[in-house]
Symmetry: D2
Subunit: 293 residues, 4 copies
C-alpha cells in the first residue's frame, strides 16, 4: 500500500520504520526535517507538508503529541483533509480526546474518506520492536484493509467496534490505569522504606505473585529506583492524558476520584520542577510527602 506518515517523534519514528520494513511505500512528514533523514536513507520519501504525505496515499497515519497538533495537521491549510483521496484512510494513532476523535470521524465522512482510531499501548522501545498493543475502532472496511498494517507494528490488535472514539476512550482509561499503578506503588514504597524495609524486595514479592503483569514490573522498577531520566514519555504529556480522561468523564458526569488525585500530583510534580522527567516521576510526590529525600 501507499502509506503516508505524519509525526516522527519517539513513538512515530519506530512505527514508521516498521511500516517501511513491512514492504509498503512510505512517505513521511515531520515538522522538523532532521527526524525524517534516517527513514529516508531506508527508502522512505519525504514530504514537505502533511497534505503532500496524504496526497495519493491509500492510508495516512498520524502520530502526534496532542489535540492541537493533530487538528492543525488535519484541518490546516496544508492539512490531510483536503489532500487525502476519496476512499482514503486516516489512521490516527495519537492519544487524543474523545471529542476530537468524534469530530475527525465526522469530518472524514463528509469527504468520503475513512477514519480509524488506532491508539497504541507501549513505550518507545516497544514501538521500535513492533511490540505495541493496538486498539482499533472506526470504519469497518478500512479496519479490514489495514489488518496487516497493524500486525506490522504491534504484537496484538484489538478491534473494538465501529465508533472510532471508543478506541480513544479505551486508550485514555488504560493510561489512567497505569497512573494508578504508579501512584499505588509509590505509596507502598514510601511506607516500606520508612518502616525500614527494602522496596525492591516488596516489589519482587508483588510481581512474582498476584501482580505479575509487565506494567507492575516496568513501572515498579522505575519508581523504586527513581530512574526518571531520560524520559520515555514526558511528564506534561501524562498530565495531558489525565486531563483528557477527566474531560471524557466530565462529559458523561462520571467522577473519577483517583484520576483527580493523580492529576493533583502531576501538577505538584511540575510545580516542583519535574516537568522534564518521565511521566512516572509524579511518584516522587508520594516520597516527598512522606518526608523522604
Amino acid at each position: 500500500m501507499k502509506v503516508g506518515f505524519v509525526g516522527l517523534g519517539q513513538m512515530g519514528a519506530g512505527i514508521a520504520a516498521n511500516v517501511l520494513k513491512a514492504g509498503h511505500t512510505l512517505t513521511v512528514y515531520n515538522r522538523t526535517n532532521s527526524k525524517a533523514a534516517t527513514l529516508q536513507s531506508a527508502g522512505a520519501h519525504v514530504a514537505g507538508t502533511p497534505a503532500a504525505a496524504a496526497d495519493g496515499s491509500d492510508v495516512v497515519i498520524t502520530m502526534l503529541a496532542d489535540d492541537r497538533a493533530l487538528e492543525s495537521t488535519v484541518f490546516g491549510d496544508h492539512g490531510i483533509l483536503k489532500a487525502l483521496p476519496a476512499g482514503g484512510i486516516h489512521i490516527s494513532m495519537s492519544t487524543i480526546s474523545v471529542a476530537l476523535s468524534r469530530g475527525l470521524a465526522d469530518a472524514h465522512k463528509q469527504k468520503q474518506q475513512r477514519y480509524v482510531a488506532a491508539p497504541v499501548f507501549g513505550r518507545p522501545e516497544a514501538a521500535a520492536a513492533a511490540k505495541l498493543f493496538v486498539v482499533v475502532a472506526g470504519d469497518l472496511s478500512a479496519i479490514e484493509k489495514c489488518r496487516e498494517l497493524f500486525s506490522a507494528i504491534g504484537q496484538r490488535t484489538f478491534e473494538i467496534g465501529e465508533e472510532a472514539q471508543a478506541a480513544n476512550l479505551f486508550k485514555l482509561n488504560g493510561n489512567f490505569l497505569i497512573t494508578t499503578v504508579i501512584e499505588s506503588l509509590a505509596e507502598t514504597f514510601a511506607l516500606v522504606r520508612k518502616s525500614g524495609y527494602d522496596q525492591f524486595k516488596f516489589l519482587e514479592v508483588m510481581t512474582e505473585s498476584l501482580f505479575n503483569a509487565p506494567i507492575y514490573k516496568t513501572y515498579g522498577k522505575i519508581v523504586a529506583s527513581e530512574q526518571f531520566d531520560p524520559p520515555g514519555f514526558k511528564l506534561p504529556l501524562g498530565l495531558k492524558d489525565n486531563r483528557l480522561v477527566l474531560a471524557a468523564a466530565e462529559e458523561q458526569s462520571v467522577p473519577m476520584p483517583i484520576a483527580t488525585l493523580v492529576g493533583n500530583n502531576f501538577l505538584t510534580a511540575i510545580a516542583q520542577g519535574l516537568g522534564e522527567s518521565d511521566w512516572s516521576a509524579f511518584s516522587k510526590v508520594a516520597y516527598r510527602n512522606a518526608g523522604l529525600e
Copy 2:
C-alpha cells in the same frame, strides 16, 4: 511434625486440610466446633482450647479474623502462650497489625518460643488448592524448619527477613494494592459504561495487554459483573485491612491518599448496606456516584 491449628474459617479450613494431607499430625481448634468435624473425619484431633492445640506441638498455626481474636487466642487464659513448649513455633497467618506482630515476637521470645509471621495472599479457593502465596518473616531457624510446611499450603514462599512484622507490612500493602486495582477498574468501568461501551470488552483489552495479571482478571470479572455474593472475603474485613495499613502508615508519618480514598468508599459501602457482600463490593460506590443503577 506435630502441628496445632487454630482458626478454621474459609481460609483456615483449606490450609489445615493441606497440612494434614502433607502427613503431619494435626490438632485443630475452632471456636465453633462444627467446622472441625470434616477435618476430624480426615484424621485430625480436635482440641477444646487453643492451649490444648498448642500443648506438646512443634508448631501451632493461627489463622484468625483480626487482632482481637488473635490476642485472646494467644494471651487468653486458655491461650497458646502458656501452652506452647519452649522452642515451639507459632506461625501467625492472620492479616493483623504490624504492632501486634511486633508484640507477639517479643512475647514468644520471652517464653523461649519462636514466632514466625506468615500471612498469605489468595482467596479461599487458592487456600483449598494449596495455591497460596506465603510471605514469611521471623525467627530464621523456625523458618528453616517450616519450609516444607509452607510448601504444603502454597505455590510459592517468599522469605523476607528476621523481623516478623515485615511480613505483615508486606501483606497489608499487598491488600492495599488489590483495593487500588478494584477502585481503579470501577472508575474506568463506570466511564466506559456511561459512554455506551462494554466494560467486559475494555477489561479484555486490558488483561490481554499490559494488565495480564491474575489480580486484574479475577477482580475485573467480579467488579464488571457485580457478582459480590456469596463473598469470598467479607467487606468489613476489607475495611479492617484498610485501617491496618493506614495505622502502619500513620506510625511512620506516611500519607497514603489512595488508601484513605478507598477507606471512605468502604464506609460508604457499609452505610449503603453492602456489609455482607464481598469486599470488592465497595466498587459499587463508583457506579452509584456515576448515577449507574
Copy 3:
C-alpha cells in the same frame, strides 16, 4: 451616565434595576425579550442587540452565564466590541475565566476602550437589595469614573488593582471557599445526624461562636434543611465555577485538592439527578454516601 446592560438573568435583573434607580439612563438587552419588560416599564430603553446597548454608551455592563455567552456578546457580529465608543467602559460582572478576562482587557485596549472586571458576591436577593460585594480591577481611570455605579449596586466595593483578571481570580477563589463551607458542613451534619443528634443545634453552636459569618448561616440552613429548590444559582453553574478555578490553578501548576473533591461531588450530583437544584445540593452526596435517605 448612559449605561448599557446586557444579561437580565436572576442577578442581572436586580443589578440593572438598581442602576436605573440611581438615575442613570439605561438601555438593556437580553436574549429573551420578556425579561426586559419590567425594566422598560420603569424607564429603561430596550435594545435589539448587545451592540445597540453599547452604542453611544459611557458604560456597558455585562452579566452573563459563562465564557461562551460573554464571548459571543463581545466578539459576535452584533457584539459590544465594535459598537462601544472609544473611551467607553465595559464592566464585566460575570463569573468568567481568568483567561477570558485577560483576553477582554487586551481586546478593549486595542480599540481604545476601557475594561473593568467587577464580579460580585451575593445571591439574587442581595442583587435586588443592592447588597452585593463588588470586587473591581482593571483600568484605573474607568474604575474611578464608575465608583458611584458600584455603590449603587452593592454594599461594599473592593478595588484590587490594575490587572482586571485579578478580580476574576478573587471571585473564583471566593466561590471555591463557599463550596468548602458547604461540603464541610455536609460532612459534619451527616456525622451529627447518624450519631443521633440535631444538625440544626450543631449549626447554631457553630454560627453563634467561631463561625458567625453570613455564609455559614445562609448555607448552613439550606444544607441542614435540604431546601435546594427553587435554586438561587443552579448546580451546573457551580460545576462551571469549580472548573474555572481549577483551570486557573492548572495554568499556575497549583493543585487544589479540596476543589477537585468538590468537583467530583458536583459530577455525582448531576449524575444522580440534581442538575436543576441549587448548587449547594451537591451536599446531598455526603448524605447519600453516609447512607442517609
Copy 4:
C-alpha cells in the same frame, strides 16, 4: 464551691485562674509541679495527686491533652474516680474521643457521681481572657449547678443535652471545620500568590464580605503570614483531633473526605518536620505542593 482542677497546660492554666477569680476554693494538680506555682501564689491549694484534687470537692475539672492522659487521671490508682464524693461532679473539658466520654459517663454513674462533658472552643489567649465558648452536655442537675462556673470561664455556654458525648462530638466536628478553613484558605493563597497577587489583599476581601467570622480572620492571618511559631496548639494535637473525628465517623459508617484529606496533610507536615509548630502549619503542605518556597 470547692473546685478541683487537673491539667494546667496552656488552656488549663487560664481556665483555672478564672475559676479562682470567680471566688471558688480551688485545689489544683498538675503532673509537673512548677505550673501550679502561679496559681498557688494567687490562693489555690496544690494537690499531690488527681485523687487529692477531687477528694472532698463539689466539682473536679479536667483539662488534659488526650484520651490516655484523662484515662489515667480518672481510672488510675490515684485517680479521680475513687476520690470524688457521691454526688460530686466531674467536668471534662479535654478534647477527647466520643467513646471515652461515653465510658466516663457510665463509670461515674456507677459511682453515684455526676459527669458533664464541657469541651471549649478558643485558643490560650481566649482561655486567659475568659472568652471561651463552652459546649456542655451530660447530667442536667450538674449542668444547672455549674452554670456560673461556665460563665466564669467563657463568653457563652451552649447546653446541648443529656448525653455527654454529644458535646465531644460537637467539639470534634467544630475542630474539623476549623481545619477545613485552614486548608481551603491555604489552597486559595497558593493560587493567588502564584498568580502574582497578594494573599493578604485576598484575605481582606473575603473577611470583610462573606467570610467575616473570627475564625477566618485569626487563621487567615496566621496562614497568610506563615507565623506558626510559637504554637498556640501543637500540630500533633491537631492530628489527634483529626483521628478522633474520623474514629467517631467510622463508628457511624460516615465517610468524611475532607477530614481524610486534611489528615494526610497533617502526616505530611509531621514527616516534613513541622511537628513542633502550630497545628495550622499543615497549610504549608499546600504551599509546598504548589512549588512555593
